[in-house]
């Protein structure tokens, strides 16, 4: 109808519609349009446009004036009343503000942690389209998973499937010794990768060329801090460094990895080097290599999954294996395939988010309870406001405003709390979950501040909403007649909130106790061997002269009276054994049923570890050769399914044949959080030693360590001395659970503390309300003890009700958690009863104080004032 050009531009017209309200809207917008068109025609579009904006800006204050000024006046009044109340009721304000500040800080701390855990690997540009290939190995009795796949798979995926844009293998070279001039370190984090690795992952190259860094056969890429460790301030590029016996040239330096990177390395070498080390890159027999693929963004991963599932089987029909894709971002959180959904990191992320929420809720409930409990003080004000014409909506706004004021007052304390608590929080968390310590400057950024503001706002709304609707629904007529009949239901709902609070605290208490107990159980469980006073020295995997060093060192060490025994093994006892393949007994392939582990040890290993041989014999030095003699564990014997003794049974592993000379009692050679004890085969190999164990006398341990270190320096002067105590190594397996347990304990304490604040507030309120009753009772001869009981009775009821709720809930939760552990402690009744009593005790302490104060008061005073 009209020329579109001359219509009001969109943005200003949107503004107009927002700014102008009420009856004049239609008419005023019309005026704007008319003016705009007129100027448009006379002086052109641009002038008109400027005129419009100018007019809009000039008009805004008068438009607002009309309405806002009255609202502001009202807010002024609300603010005045709220501040008066805050000041008049100091105890109430202190309890609320400190509770809310603690709750908000706890929540923020937890969100820092959760955010860190959830952000793993998401910094890679292609994170959403990157997947790891995982094998599902179907055994007859079991399903096991392997995140490593055979060497040729990557190329086949890339060549045969157009959906796969890039594919790269990744392998860990094992512990190596690096030498540059006089700097010698043993390095655990060297990986070999295919060139396309850098197309898939976004690592930041500080020096050197991303495209060609891995082209030379012996090139090495270092992280910034590793380069600094070896070369100091000098430019590392093109320097030569000795890795074992190979000399490598530094071609690039990458930025240090962020702490939320699940891929970890200090150095990168070309993947072919893995082949140089003698690993099998070309056959399908060994699954050694982690393989990452980058998919076309348009491809549905499940459709590709269906196509590639059988690729390994096709090339290696011996195994029953299925491939699937795991998204990169899930690797950190969801990698416990054997126990999906129960024991992965994600479980702890959930637990923690809930705990954080709970702590905050307890603080909110405090506010709700205390403000509704004190509603009688406000009743007259509310009544009067209503009579004078306040609508319910306005009262709701008033009370929400009050709770907002309080939460934002609490927010002012939050930075102080965070600053004070951060070192402790770092200390608690830093040891595990790949969490690196945070400085206050890491935390405070715009995102975090806006998140904190949002949380505070929500806290204000949540804690204020119940009191707001409750208080604003008072009937003014009833208030002035002083007939608070509606009070009964109020008390019930307040009581149920308190019960909720106490039962949540109780659940947390029980949960943390059970976690603690389980942890103790895992640490103290008889592992079937003794790990105490054993020093473990790591030699670095597959160094040529490991055997030589071992024997020289052993000779030296055994001369000392403080060293009882020295032995060695191929793998670490914390994770003993590597998967054995092609274990054939009477024509059956046993490793198709269930995973079998194999490891080699030196003489005395079984004695030093205190393993018990229940049948047959240990390896013996008296014999010419122990070749083809195997010691197996009970679990392996069960796999053979034979009647009678398994001694002297013969079976094949790949090409070698041997027989059982001894059976060792089952012992735990893996983390107890894993499955039950797997079958194990041990053979003797005196020179294939990667770890040396020295059992030492418990006296004067530091001197003994010094002695060992000196011997080490004499034996292997160009190798670093890395030692651990075996029992510490074992406990480190549970560091995640330990951290969780500790954190939950702290947050439980916090939750209980905040709940106590609330109880103190409520009890002081109820004592205050019954001042006169207490006075009368006292005059009539009631004892102080009787009065205290009277005042505490209600709270005792609450604790009992909370116990009834909390026991089954926590039993259910912890039963579920424990069921994820193959070895678990029981939940006996004592945990529940002790926790219940603890909460009862805390409640009584916090309530009695107020009750006692009320009971001791002079009745004359309470009765006189009327």
């Amino acid at each position: 109808m009209f020329k579109d050009k001359r219509k009001l531009p969109t943005l200003p017209s949107w503004f107009l519609r927002k700014v102008i309200n009420g009856d004049i809207k239609y008419s005023a917008i019309g005026d704007f349009e008319e003016g705009y068109r007129q100027i448009f025609e006379q002086r052109g579009r641009i002038t008109a446009y400027f005129w419009l904006w100018k007019e809009l800006v000039r008009s805004t204050p008068p438009f607002f004036n009309d309405t806002t000024i009255w609202n502001l006046a009202m807010f002024n009044n609300y603010l005045k009343i709220a501040l008066r109340n805050l000041i008049r009721q100091k105890g109430f304000s202190v309890i609320n503000i400190s509770g809310l500040a603690l709750g908000i800080s706890a929540f923020l701390f937890i969100s820092i942690w959760v955010n860190h855990q959830m952000s793993f690997d998401s910094f890679h540009e292609n994170a959403d389209n990157t997947y790891r290939i995982v094998q599902r190995i179907k055994l007859t009795q079991d399903v096991s998973y392997s995140t490593r796949v055979p060497g040729p798979l990557a190329d086949i995926l890339k060549d045969d499937y157009p959906e796969v844009i890039k594919a790269a293998r990744h392998a860990w070279t094992g512990e190596r010794t690096l030498k540059y001039e006089d700097r010698i370190y043993s390095e655990n984090w060297i990986i070999g990768v295919d060139k396309e690795f850098f197309d898939i992952f976004s690592f930041n190259f500080l020096k050197g060329n991303k495209e060609s860094a891995l082209d030379p056969k012996f090139s090495i890429i270092m992280t910034e801090s590793t380069a600094e460790k070896y070369f100091g301030d000098a430019d590392p590029i093109n320097r030569t460094i000795l890795l074992d016996n190979y000399s490598f040239t530094v071609t690039a330096v990458v930025e240090d990895l962020p702490s939320n990177s699940n891929l970890f390395f200090d150095m990168i070498v070309p993947f072919d080097f893995i082949g140089t080390l003698g690993w099998d890159l070309v056959t399908w027999d060994y699954s050694f290599y982690t393989t990452f693929v980058l998919l076309d963004a348009k491809v549905e991963p499940s459709s590709l999954e269906a196509k590639i599932a059988g690729v390994v089987n096709k090339n290696n029909p011996k195994d029953n294996v299925e491939l699937f894709l795991q998204p990169l971002k899930d690797i950190y959180l969801y990698s416990n395939f054997n126990n999906p959904g129960t024991q992965g990191i994600i479980l702890y992320v959930y637990i923690f988010s809930i705990v954080g929420f709970i702590v905050l809720m307890i603080a909110c409930i405090n506010y709700m309870n205390l403000s509704t409990a004190r509603s009688e003080y406000r009743a007259k004000e509310i009544g009067l406001r209503k009579v004078v014409g306040a609508r319910k909506k306005q009262l709701v706004i008033q009370f929400l405003f009050e709770s907002m004021l309080l939460t934002f007052a609490a927010l002012l304390l939050v930075p102080v709390i965070i600053k004070l608590a951060l070192p402790k929080f770092n200390e608690l968390v830093a040891a595990s979950f790949n969490y690196s310590e945070l400085e206050i400057t890491d935390i405070v950024n715009l995102k975090f501040i806006s998140f904190a503001l949002m949380i505070t706002f929500l806290t204000g709304v949540i804690s204020g909403s119940y009191p707001a609707f409750f208080l604003s629904s008072f009937n003014p007529a009833r208030i002035f007649k002083k007939r608070g009949k509606s009070g009964e239901s109020r008390i019930i709902s307040r009581r149920s909130l308190v019960i909720l609070q106490v039962s949540i605290s109780l659940v947390l208490l029980i949960v943390s106790t059970v976690i603690f107990k389980q942890l103790n159980y895992l640490k103290n469980k008889d592992l079937g061997y003794s790990s105490e006073n054993i020093v473990m020295i790591s030699l670095g995997i597959s160094n040529m002269n490991n055997g030589e060093i071992y024997h020289n060192l052993k000779e030296k060490l055994e001369q000392s009276p403080s060293v009882e025994m020295v032995t060695g093994s191929f793998t670490s006892p914390v994770n003993l054994g590597s998967p054995a393949r092609d274990v054939i007994y009477k024509g059956n392939r046993l490793d198709l049923n269930t995973p079998i582990n194999i490891t080699s040890v030196d003489f005395d290993f079984i004695d030093l570890m205190g393993l018990e041989i229940i049948e047959g014999r240990n390896f013996s030095r008296d014999l010419e050769s122990e070749r083809g003699n195997w010691i197996v564990n009970e679990s392996f014997v069960r796999l053979l399914e034979i009647e009678g003794s398994a001694l002297n049974e013969t079976f094949d592993i790949r090409t070698s044949t041997g027989s059982v000379i001894g059976i060792v009692k089952d012992f735990h050679f893996e983390s107890l959080t894993n499955t039950s004890i797997e079958p194990l085969i041990i053979f003797l190999h005196s020179t294939g030693v990667n770890y040396i164990f020295a059992k030492i006398h418990p006296q004067n341990i530091p001197d003994t360590i010094d002695f060992i270190e000196n011997c080490w320096k004499e034996t292997a002067p160009d190798k670093p001395f890395n030692y651990n105590f075996l029992d510490e190594q074992f406990n480190a397996l549970y560091s995640n659970i330990e951290t969780i347990g500790r954190l939950i304990r702290y947050f439980t304490f916090l939750a209980v503390f905040i709940a106590c604040l609330g109880l103190i507030g409520l009890s002081s309120f109820s004592a205050e309300k019954r001042t006169k009753e207490i006075g009368v009772r006292k005059v009539l001869g009631s004892s102080i003890f009787g009065l205290v009981i009277l005042l505490c009775k209600n709270f005792l009821k609450i604790v009992i009700a909370a116990n009834i709720i909390a026991w089954p809930v926590s039993y259910f939760l912890m039963n579920k958690w424990l069921s994820g552990f193959p070895y678990r402690t029981g939940m006996d009744w004592s945990i529940f009863i002790v926790s219940g009593l603890a909460v009862l005790g805390i409640t009584i302490v916090s309530v009695t104080f107020q009750a006692l104060k009320a009971a001791l008061a002079d009745p004359v005073r309470s009765l006189r004032y009327e």
Binding site: M1, R6, D23, S27, G30, D31, E33, R37, S59
Partner: protein
């Protein structure tokens, strides 16, 4: 009697002066001319809206016109109350101005 604010008074007078042609644009033009400075649209509507709420003026919707983007003009008319208060204001002014010694500056009232 309630005294109107100065801006309300001016707007009210202009509405009366414009008679049948009193709507936002013309009122603004007249007020701006009379006072010698450009009033913003908002500055006109704030007093106009208050006058309407207090019952001094009434609105009447005209026909939709093209220059307002298909909207109709909203005409303002004085109510009886409006007329009465204008008369009163006039009376007050006249009463107060009687006997005022002449001002040096040329007052235009």
């Amino acid at each position: 009697m309630k005294l109107l604010s100065r801006s309300e008074e001016i707007v009210l007078l202009c509405v009366w002066k414009l008679q049948e042609d009193a709507y936002g644009v013309t009122i603004r033009k007249l007020v701006s001319e009379a006072t010698g400075h450009e009033w913003s649209i908002g500055a006109i509507y704030a007093p106009l809206h208050r006058l309407e709420k207090k019952g001094y003026v009434r609105t009447k919707q005209g026909e939709p016109v093209a220059e307002r983007g298909g909207r109709s003009k909203v005409f303002y008319k004085l109510s009886e109350k409006g007329k009465k208060s204008l008369l009163e204001i006039k009376k007050v002014h006249e009463t107060v101005w009687v006997g005022i010694p002449s001002l040096e500056i040329n007052g235009n009232r």
